[in-house]
Symmetry: C2
Subunit: 316 residues, 2 copies
């Protein structure tokens, strides 16, 4: 597994790349595209004028357009990087300006609902291939991005039945050159996988932080002071972009409710073990869960430094 991005490509993967939305993900794509020469010309736009101005200031793109329609003109790869709830409106806006043969993709954490919302706007002759880089931090905006965000992370593509193999190949080459491993699956399966590996974890993190904030007997300042006992881990993902996450839950309702149902069922069983003092049952679960972390570390999706490296380990 490579520890860093490779050198600039001699031949760019695409001619003209248009990034719509320059938050954490979009601005990271702009950065890696420039760094690795993924496109001959890099074009960006964002719905927010201050964000556009900041992208200009940071020099992240060759062209920054006020309108998405202008940004996509003549582009051969267009990646929608807005919160998933915004994608249908963007698709409607850019549709008339898309060139025949262009590839439209996105980076949303939900695929089924978004793919169905966007597909009707995509003109004949344009390839629509949804995508999702499983990467991010709890920070947002064009300043939060960095070129190695996708390095050694997985990017999931969900090409519809009958998608053009050449277009899928180009998109896959783009993400590979951005540092990612690429996997292909159906929208439905993606949404279920992400419900358990990302959406429900975020939901319960948001929830426990909310529960803590609402207690009367324990003051806010106590929660904050004594957070090193485990709570602070949850506050990281509960600090993620609220708009993005609202849209995720609204758009992946079925899979989230299904996984959430299992989670609360399992939690009730645990609660019962605690109430009835079933130490063996608790011990059995607490042992089983250790192996999963070990595997995640083994395949390089997590570091093995204790406590996320918060301490300077200093034996003796």
């Amino acid at each position: 597994m490579s520890e860093q991005l490779g050198p600039k490509l001699e031949r760019p993967v695409v001619e003209r790349l248009a990034i719509i939305g320059c938050g954490l993900i979009g601005s990271s794509l702009l950065r890696v595209a420039r760094r690795r020469n993924l496109a001959r010309r890099i074009v960006a736009t964002d719905a927010s004028a201050p964000v556009r101005a900041r992208v200009v200031e940071l020099g992240l793109a060759d062209e920054v357009h006020d309108s998405a329609a202008d940004a996509v003109r003549d582009a051969d790869l267009i990646i929608l990087c807005a919160p998933v709830g915004a994608n249908a409106a963007i698709a409607a806006e850019i549709a008339p300006a898309l060139s025949t043969g262009a590839i439209v993709s996105d980076v949303g954490s939900v695929k089924g609902a978004v793919a169905s919302a966007v597909a009707p706007f995509i003109p004949k002759g344009v390839h629509f291939i949804p995508g999702h880089p499983v990467a991010g931090t709890e920070q947002s905006g064009p300043d939060a991005g960095f070129p190695t965000l996708f390095l050694n992370r997985w990017c999931i593509l969900t090409p519809p039945a009958g998608a053009d193999p050449h277009a899928v190949e180009t998109l896959s080459a783009f993400w590979t050159a951005a540092g990612s491993n690429v996997e292909t699956m159906s929208c439905e399966h993606h949404d279920l996988v992400l419900a358990i590996t990302s959406h429900v974890p975020h939901l319960i993190a948001y929830n426990i932080v909310g529960t803590a904030a609402d207690l009367e007997e324990v003051t806010q300042s106590e929660v904050i002071k004594f957070s090193a006992g485990g709570f602070r881990d949850f506050t990281r993902i509960a600090a993620s972009n609220p708009t993005m996450w609202r849209d995720v839950f609204l758009n992946n309702k079925d899979a989230v409710l299904e996984i959430l149902g299992r989670f609360t069922e399992d939690l009730s069983a645990l609660q019962r073990m605690i109430r009835w003092g079933d130490g063996d049952g608790l011990f059995a679960l607490f042992t089983r869960t250790r192996d999963i972390r070990r595997s995640i570390i083994e395949i390089g999706q997590e570091s093995d430094v204790p406590d996320f490296g918060r301490h300077q380990s200093d034996p003796q």
Copy 2:
């Protein structure tokens, strides 16, 4: 806030320190005691012979005894660092060997049940002052410890009514010299505070990892591969010591069930928002939770590096 441990004390806080149990916490205490000269003589024991042998090998103590009773003889500060379920038996064993005027403390994550289990064994003339350093990592055993584990973390003391002020002061001086901030509260309040800041967070982390392991539609290897979407954060605390955590839940039943009840109540409300598409409700919660992390970072209980510093931040 100091970034590192101070120099060796000219005058040790206690004469003879006995550490019972040399896992992550006990071995970290041994290390910081040596490093900062917290005791003139450092004595250790552990129920496990291989652990005792390792403590000798690592040179963590001046004396390593096979029996807890031998270890506490003539000690003026004895700290029980075993899983909380073992404390009553240890107290029974060491009671006859304790010197008048000695201080007995512990490091357990539960105070009420443990204090009542241990107190009856403590002889007249010996000071029993329960304690809890809110610090740790997901690793266990004598090799996992390090001297700065308690640096800038809080240590909570729960002295019983009528505790000797001088003994409390000595114990407090000991933890302060180990790098901690010391706070005093009742056992009952401690157990409620820790239920929300530590115990229930661990429980739901263990639970989501268990739910993920049991899914039929999503393979284990998919959960592991795509864990960077949030799930892997939970696997860290779900990799903690199973014995320690079993004992925590068995011994802090009431507070854990109380907080868990609130958590599931709140989660049902969130679930309902998702089912009915209440985007504003979701957005309101997701915004509110951001502030808590900001406060935790501000008071130095968490770093502000994105994604726990997993990426090398490399802007542009």
